[in-house]
Amino acid sequence: MKNKPPRWAEWLVERIAAPYLRDEILGDLSELFQRRGNRYGYSKARLFYWLDVLLLMHPRLWRRKPRSVAYAPQFTDYQNPSPLLMLSNYFKIALRKLNRNKAYTLINVVSLGLGIACAILIFTLVKYHLSFDTFHANKDRIFRVFTELHDSKTRYNPGVPNPMGDALRNGFTAFEKVGRIAFLEKRVVEISPNKKFKEDIAFADPEFLEITNFPLEQGNSKTALQERNTALITDRVAKKYFGAEDPIGKIVHVDDSLVVRITGILRDLPANTDIRPEMYIPFGNLKDHTPWMVEKDWWFSVSDDMQCYVRLKPGVSAASVDNTVLPAVSSKYYDEKMAKFFRFKLQPISDVHFNPNLKGNTEKKNLWAFGLIGLFLIITTCVNFVNLSTAQALGRSKEIGVRKVMGSQRGALFWQFMTETALITGMATLVAFGLAYLALPVVNQLFEIDLTLNPFTDIYLITFLPVLLLVVIFISGSYPGLILARFQPVMALKGKLSQRQLGGFSLRKGLVITQFAISQLLIIGTLVIANQLRYSQQADMGFEKDAVVMLPVPENKKSTINTLSAQFSELPGVESSTFFDTAPAAEEVGSTGIQFDSRTESETFSIAIKAADDRFVPTFEIPMVAGRNLNPSDTIREYIVNESAVKALQLKSNQEVVGKRAVINGRPGTIVGVMKDFHYRSFHVGIEPLCITTRSENYMNCAVKVNLRNLPATLAGLEKSWSAMYPSSIFTYQFLDEEIERFYKLDTMMLRLIQAFAGIAIFIGCLGLYGLISFMAEQKNKEIGVRKVLGASVPSILWLFCKEFARLLLIAFVLAAPLAWWVMNGWLNNFVYRIELGAGIFALAIVITVVISVLTVGYRSMKAALMNPIKSLRSE
């Protein structure tokens, strides 16, 4: 018939009419339409049609059939049952299915569980780091003042000169509160002669606690930190010192120089703050304890332990302070030249944790890298799931066929599959939580942090989890669901479905490639990081670092040092000992300006400076390339420099520098020798000009070269002499090579983490691979039987299985290798002294992947290849 009723109106009625009315009403409407069409013309009839449809709108149109009316049910009534009504059925079927295919269920639950567990842990970790110092009231107005030193290159220091606090407080109006704080690490706190602890302490203004609002549990917050020789400690420390006793009013000694009375107890510091001291002493006491830090209003040195926190007045912008107030400070307290050198800026407190230039210990880019790895793992698990379930779909073709013949619609089949996915994901989540709980202590230990995992109180986790679950369910469930629902029932029942009809075997290939690529990426990453770390720890630093024991020197009077040195040399296991300020390789080395020989201007580069006695060079076996070692002295007379310094001075030969005068750090001396370049910092940074001079008042450490043969006795001897010399201190020692390893702490952490993730990714991938190969083996059961009967050998059948995966693996490698090269090259650029990305690493990566996949695939395909063909062919 040419003239059809309006399609949209029909569609509308079809949508909303109750099933038992649908046909009748549509029939009526169409009949009326035809009659009216004949009578008045079709355009009018169409109008009437719409009018009728509009007038049909009434609850009776869509209300279900009343019960009292006897009415035979029709097929069409159930055409579109609501998915919600079907839910209980879906559940029942899903449970039966999962129960029947236990291996399949297990593989999926385990791999999804691992993926989700990683996602939960990574999420918690990232959230933990992002939450650092975000709990302070008015945190948008809290800033730390930091120093920019504009030299030939700009350096940053989180500290400020010590008069900064007073200057800001008195001369400027932009600040609501200014709190100075001096951090002193590992001081000895003595409660009684037998009870001593090493503690990180801080000297702070009362305003500091107001800015950061760490609340007091006991004591008066109005007077806290006002009165000299008082102290606040945290609840945790109070329990450690005094147990159940009341800590208020107790007297403790801090090092030898200070006696304080506890006047208040702070609530324990939250885990997510970088302000870690647990003992606070009024700032005024600093001059009794460490006079040199506040000796005079000395604007010309910056120590990163001397910091200044401010709270701006409401409405004052940080930019305006950066642009006007702080430059004004520079020009007020420095002459024109130095004002250019010393510049100050504000750093928001939320940035303190993240800024690597200012000693922030976590870079945000690392967090994003973790997030990315988490995403990768989730993708891998989803890929696994999709792979396995599309493969399974083939085995289910009969079931689907029967369902379709019985009247199942696509929607119903799709939702049934989604229910199955949701069930598996639900189980996986439980597994994941178990795994995450088990892994949490390990993660905490690795990162030296204090993460907790509580899905019931953590609002972020509560929102994150459902979102993650929904995403996983939809990504991994919808594709197989659609495939399953699309089957042609006749084909399915005849068992004539082939891989091709399953749709997108190529897509599944793509997924396997993705998986392999992710695994290879992580493997290459692991190999590169491990190699670089091994290189930086085993490479020649240019000095002897083995069998060297490092001891602190709490007090460096000339006589003390001499006595100690003499006592050490009497010990049988000691080969030599030396005193100096920082170890030959240290993370921080002070640097200063140099004026060489008769040149009139200071050099444009700055030179690192170490103070050490004459035994430094022989003890660490640093080779001299010109001149001689320092002569014994206690004050600055002679310098030795390294080769880089000679180069920086633009001299042609090392000999030229020997015997010349130089003014370094404002102090004149003669350069007497040139050392071969050695790594005085980590491999992250290059070797720069360095000089060493004698200055006993700077000596803070002692290195003892020992004979490893009778180490315990030697260490005991060292402790005895040391403790006799410093009775009020606690003896600690460390081996130099261990200390050097600590430079790479963050890198080691990354390595462990990526190792773990690579392991998990590979494991998940293997599970998927195993699932796929088992499925393939079942699929090719008959084929193998026929081949064997016709005389195929076992290896040729094995090859049948392997060649497919070998190809995918190679494609994955081609994709992963350049990406890995790019990423890891970027990482290696953090090191000045680095390994090269050779073909070896990539070859090793592919060998590892091949071996692992062969192991996974091998067993199952071997079993298939060795099977007696009679078993598979018997039924025909």
Partner: protein
Amino acid sequence: MKGTQLGEFEELVLLTIALLFDDAYSVAVVETLSEKLERPMSLGAVHRTMQRLEEKGMVSSRFGDATAERGGRSKRLFTVTLAGEQALREMRRIRNELWAGIPKTAWSGL
């Protein structure tokens, strides 16, 4: 008149169903009624009334044949049940009684 309330429109539809006897389905009812009442009827109104009548047990329905005009969909044919017939007769009786009781002088104009 207990329990069997019959609205004015319901009565008209019921009467039409009775009138059409063997061919009483919604479209026929709509057309007959619009003809008799000389005003257009909406399918919806008739449909709902017929549903209501069926719920009250005054009509019963069965499926009839499908025609090309209807796009191959079958129609539903209605028959007046005994209860329906009784309700109609009752209404008529009441009306007759009322008519008979009206005094002639009531029609003042005539």
